[in-house]
Amino acid sequence: MKFFHYVNFVIIVILLIAICVIEEVIVSSSLKQVQTRCYEIEMLLADRNDLLNMEITLQIDNLEYSWKKDETAMCFLVNHKNIQEIGQEIAKLKLYIASNDIDAFRVSLEEIKFYCHSYLHFMGANLHNVL
C-alpha cells in the first residue's frame, strides 16, 4: 500500500511537470508564430498606402487559420479571456482590408503584437509573476 502511495505521488509530480512543459511549448510557440506573422505582414505594408494586395489578404487568411487552430489547443491551458482579444483583432484586420483602412490595420497589428508580447511575459515563471 505504501508502495502505491509513492507511485501515486510520482505519477502526480510527472503529470504536473508534463502539464507545465506542454503549456510552455504550445502557448509560447503559438504566440511567437502569431508575432512572426505580424512582422511579416508589417514588412509587406512598408512603402504601401493601401491594403488592396493579394499577398496581404493571403497572409491574413493564413494568420486567422493558424490562430483558430492554436486557440483550440490553448483553451485547455490558458484562460480564454486572456487570449480572446488576439482573435478579435485578427477578425478586425479582415474588415480593414475590405474597407482599405490602412491606419486602423496598422493599429490592430500593433495590438496583436502587444497582446502576444504581454501574454508571453505574463506566462513565464519569474519572480515578478510569482509575487
Binding site: N8, F9, I12, L16, C75, F76, L77, N79, H80
Partner: protein, 240 residues
C-alpha cells in the same frame, strides 16, 4: 449549461481523488496544515466549475500541487519530530493534578468555559474528577480521570471474561457478501439453513434478511427486514 455540468462532474471526481489520496481523516481530526489544505481545495474547486472561460486544468493543477505539498509535509513530519512540532504544534496539558494550568490556558487562548465544555464532552462534569486533560494537536481534548472517578473495569474486579471478536457481516440488505463468507469459512447453504431455523417463517430466504453477522466464537446476530433483531449462539456457523 451542459459544459458546467460536465466540468462539475470532472472537478468533483478530482476532488474526491485528492481527498482519498490525502487519507481518511475527518474534519475534527485534522492537523492545522491539513485543515488549511482542505479549505484551499474547497475554494479552488469552485473556480473552474463556475467560470467556463477558465480551463479545468487551472483548477486541477493547483489541486494536484497541494496533494504533492501535503505528501511532502507529511513525509517531513514523519521524519523530523522538530518539524512536526513546528507544523502541527505539540499536545499541551491544560489540567493537571493541581488544577487548571492558567498559563497553558492563556497560551491556547481558551476560556474556562471552553475547558469545561471539552471535559463535559469527554464525560466528566466536575474538574475534581480529572487528573490530566491534554489539548491534542488536532484540537481535541483527551482526559485522564482520577482513579476514584475512573470507570470500573473487569480487570479491577478480577473478572475473567472472554475476549471480544469483530463480527463479520455475512448478509446485508438481502445480499450475501461473498468476500466475508470466504473470510468466515462458511457456505451459502449453511447461511440459508441458519436463516430458516432462526426466523419465524420457514419460507424465509436470504433475500428477507436485513443483517446477519457472526464472530469467531459463533455469536450471531440476525435481523429480518420485517421483524426484530435476534442475538444467538450458533453451533452451525463458527467463523474460522
Amino acid at each position: 449549461m451542459l459544459t458546467i455540468i460536465i466540468r462539475s462532474v470532472i472537478i468533483y471526481l478530482i476532488v474526491l481523488l485528492v481527498f482519498r489520496l490525502m487519507g481518511k481523516r475527518q474534519l475534527g481530526q485534522m492537523q492545522p496544515f491539513e485543515l488549511v489544505l482542505t479549505l484551499i481545495i474547497a475554494d479552488l474547486a469552485t473556480i473552474p466549475m463556475a467560470e467556463v472561460s477558465v480551463p479545468v486544468l487551472h483548477g486541477v493543477v493547483p489541486l494536484l500541487s497541494l496533494v504533492v505539498l501535503h505528501f511532502i509535509l507529511t513525509l517531513i513530519c514523519r521524519c523530523s519530530q522538530h518539524f512536526s512540532k513546528i507544523i502541527s504544534g505539540k499536545p499541551v496539558i491544560i489540567v493537571n493534578p493541581k488544577g487548571i494550568d492558567y498559563q497553558a490556558m492563556k497560551k491556547l487562548n481558551l476560556s474556562t468555559d471552553d475547558i469545561f465544555e471539552a471535559l463535559r464532552g469527554a464525560g466528566y462534569f466536575s474538574i475534581s474528577d480529572v487528573q490530566y486533560a491534554i489539548m491534542e494537536t488536532n484540537g481535541k481534548v483527551s482526559v485522564m480521570p482520577k482513579s476514584a472517578a475512573a470507570p470500573v473495569t473487569n480487570q479491577d474486579l478480577n473478572n475473567k471474561v472472554a475476549d471480544n471478536y469483530l463480527p463479520i457481516v455475512l448478509v446485508s440488505d438481502g445480499k450475501i457478501i461473498k468476500e466475508n463468507i470466504a473470510l468466515a469459512g462458511v457456505s451459502q447453504k449453511e447461511i440459508s439453513d441458519l436463516v430458516k431455523e432462526n426466523s419465524n417463517s420457514k419460507n424465509c430466504s436470504i433475500k428477507d434478511v436485513l443483517l446477519l453477522t457472526i464472530n469467531k466464537t459463533g455469536q450471531a446476530y440476525l435481523q429480518m427486514k420485517q421483524g426484530e433483531g435476534l442475538s444467538f449462539q450458533s453451533k452451525r456457523l463458527v467463523s474460522k
